[in-house]
């Protein structure tokens, strides 16, 4: 059946269109006279109607036709865009969302007759004259954007095959070098370039602009604020950043929870200038996302009292806690800043889930709060893909760090014990020693350091004692398995040309 075959595609497109509609309606609320905006809304609704008609969703078509009438009446100035019209239009997006969910779940449309009637009544009551024949100028210009939706798991499979191919190419390059076969080497290098380009293109397919996903958030904030009887404005500054779609999907869940909290608990009732800022920045190899509200701030004493009441900590312990430790309490299950729970938030689970989700992304979350508001700062590492690494053995473990951090490798004149050494002097410079052997509790290695790798990381000079022979290789970063999550000093896992699995160290957590 054609309809069934294309249902997934229809749903994917319709969800995007709905997001776009919400975003356009938000702009229209700010600028009700925006003729171009209304025209764009009309085009969008027309496209949505066309897609629903292709799928034979009759109720949806009738509903969207009524919506089209309202928008067209507004376009011809036969209907004024006041707050009640805007509210009605926003209500249509809610109905359409419910409808899409129902179609996704059971392939059945919901009953939209009341909503359709409301739209028709709006036209009847508010327009000065009945809507006449559709104006050609709008309809004729309507065009449909053609997009292809690909499930992320299909991209993952493709990427896995490509990684295998890439590793084989690396292998043939190394073999050609070893054999001294210039022709074969040239061919391997050229194939390597092609496969690398292919991989980068594939990665690019997975990368989506933050704005694509964040654009639906102002509508969400508006809707929560309305339920809470508050006025809150959401300002988004995405700095034109993009991110892997799978990370972004998880990130948006985190942001939704933080925004719910900010509106429900941060912004006070009756506060006139309620404002939430969402900003994304790039810091070295990390993305930083800040969610900041200008609300009442977190009352840390209340959090502390609740933690004592819930027996998360003892009263005696609470007296010795630093502010940083108290701040950590807010991320524990059952501790919430809200006095009463409601449908939006306040059950004390939100922030603990947020922290778990951030940690799933190998990220970190911090909170700062004063009487002027609360700021949550999330940092998540950006995935590395193909890079040259500095490789060594630590006992039986294959380890590496990205070569870009290594300034120099010093061969020691004699084996040196670094187990309890804090600094290493080299050419009048002092380097802070990273004692991996100590971190991993491997005292047997303490007298065997052969080399010292001098690193520069975030303006810090570091010395990494190495206990084995070293080399640099091109590696392909892979998805980190769950088993590595508990090891904070390991950033992830990579594969070399011979298929060897290498643990990539997280320098940030080793300092």
């Amino acid at each position: 059946m054609i309809s069934q075959k294309y249902k997934t595609f229809y749903l994917g497109t319709a969800k995007k269109q709905l997001k776009k509609l919400s975003s356009l309606l938000l702009s229209l609320e700010k600028n009700p006279e925006g003729g171009i905006l209304i025209e764009n809304i009309f085009r969008l609704v027309h496209s949505m109607k066309g897609a629903a008609a292709t799928m034979a969703y009759k109720k949806t078509v009738t509903f969207l036709h009524a919506l089209e009438d309202v928008v067209e009446a507004a376009y011809h100035k036969q209907l004024s865009i006041d707050q009640s019209t805007i509210d009605l239009l926003f209500k249509t997006t809610e109905s359409l969302e419910k409808n899409l969910k129902s179609i996704a779940k059971s392939n059945k449309e919901i009953n939209l007759s009341k909503e359709t009637r409301d739209l028709k009544n709006c036209c009847k009551h508010k327009t000065s004259k009945q809507i006449v024949k559709r104006t050609k100028s709008i309809v004729d210009d309507v065009h449909l954007d053609v997009e292809i939706s690909v499930a992320p798991n299909k991209l993952n499979t493709l990427q896995n095959y490509l990684d295998d191919l890439l590793i084989n190419v690396m292998k043939s390059k190394a073999l050609a070098q070893k054999e001294g076969d210039a022709e074969m080497l040239s061919m391997a290098v050229s194939t390597d370039t092609i496969v690398n380009n292919l991989r980068r293109e594939l990665e690019r397919l997975r990368i989506v602009p933050l704005s694509d996903v964040l654009s639906s958030l102002p509508y969400l904030v508006r809707s929560i604020a309305k339920n809470e009887n508050k006025q809150v404005e959401l300002n988004i500054k995405d700095n034109d950043l993009s991110l892997d779609k799978s990370i972004l999907d998880q990130l948006v869940e985190i942001l939704i929870q933080l925004l719910k909290n900010a509106v429900a608990h941060g912004i006070q009732e009756g506060q006139r200038n309620g404002r939430v800022d969402l900003e994304a920045n790039l810091l070295n190899d990390q993305m930083q996302i800040i969610v900041k509200d200008n609300g009442q701030g977190v009352k840390w004493q209340e959090i502390l009292d609740k933690a004592i009441k819930k027996k998360v900590i003892s009263r005696a312990k609470s007296k010795k806690m630093t502010l940083a430790q108290i701040k950590e309490l807010i991320f524990m299950p059952g501790i919430s800043a809200a006095k009463a729970s409601n449908i939006v938030s306040g059950r004390g689970m939100g922030l603990s889930l947020v922290k778990n989700k951030v940690e799933d992304l190998d990220g970190d979350i911090n909170v700062d709060s004063s009487k002027k508001g609360t700021t949550f700062t999330i940092t998540i590492p950006l995935p590395l893909s193909i890079f040259r690494s500095f490789n060594f053995q630590l006992g039986q473990f294959n380890m590496a760090i990205p070569l870009l951090y290594v300034n120099k490798v010093v061969k020691l004149k004699k084996l040196k014990n670094f187990y309890n050494t804090k600094t290493f002097d080299y050419k009048r410079s002092k380097y802070k020693v990273i004692s991996l052997a100590k971190k991993l509790d491997m005292p047997d290695l303490k007298a065997l350091a052969k080399y010292v790798a001098l690193l520069k990381y975030k303006d810090t000079k570091l010395a990494l004692p190495v206990y084995s022979n070293v080399n640099d290789r091109e590696v392909v970063m892979k998805k980190s398995p769950h088993i590595l999550k508990s090891l904070d000093y390991i950033k992830g896992v990579a594969v070399a040309s011979d298929g060897q699995v290498i643990l990539i160290l997280d320098i940030n957590n080793l300092i």
Binding site: Q159, N160, Y161, L162, D163, D164, L394, Q396, F397, N398, L440, D441, K478, K479, S480, P481, H482, I483, L484, L487, V493, V495, G499, Q500, V501, I502, L503
Partner: protein, 137 residues
């Protein structure tokens, strides 16, 4: 408890036959090299690479509390929570279909079994592995 025609993969570890429910991604492969991981459960042998995927290799003998020296190279691949795991095994056997599973109340873990040619073959359910291997605490 009855389960209609469920498929199981049979394999041998230390002379005894075990079954694992046939999952979408179930397959056998040969581990070429296993990279150890520091500070993990002793039943985790390390990581290996196969068909573009990183696989966490588990020592099946340790999971089943068998004291055999582990020299195995064949892995039974399965996925759990979007992660890939490989169970080190001695020998690949058949895939069978069982209409019923039984429970051995005398056993503490991996109680369920199927009957294959009148023999009891205990089932190694992935979800029960994490009761022995502490990965998902």
């Amino acid at each position: 408890m009855a389960s209609k025609g469920k498929k199981y993969i049979l394999f041998k570890v230390d002379g005894s036959t075990w079954a694992m429910p046939l999952l979408k991604d179930s397959q056998f492969f040969t581990c070429t090299e296993i990279a150890p991981i520091p500070a993990v459960d002793e039943a985790v042998r390390g990581l290996t690479y196969h068909n573009g995927k990183i696989i966490t290799v588990l020592n099946t003998a340790k999971i089943l509390n068998l004291n055999t020296e582990e020299k195995k190279k064949t892995c039974l691949l399965f996925t759990y929570n979007n992660d890939n795991y490989g169970l080190l095994i001695d020998e690949v056997k058949d895939t069978v279909k069982a209409t019923r599973t039984f429970s051995d109340t005398k056993k503490k873990l991996f109680k369920k079994y199927i009957r294959v040619k009148k023999n009891k073959v205990y089932i190694l359910e992935p979800v029960l592995i994490w009761k022995v291997v502490k990965i998902y605490d």
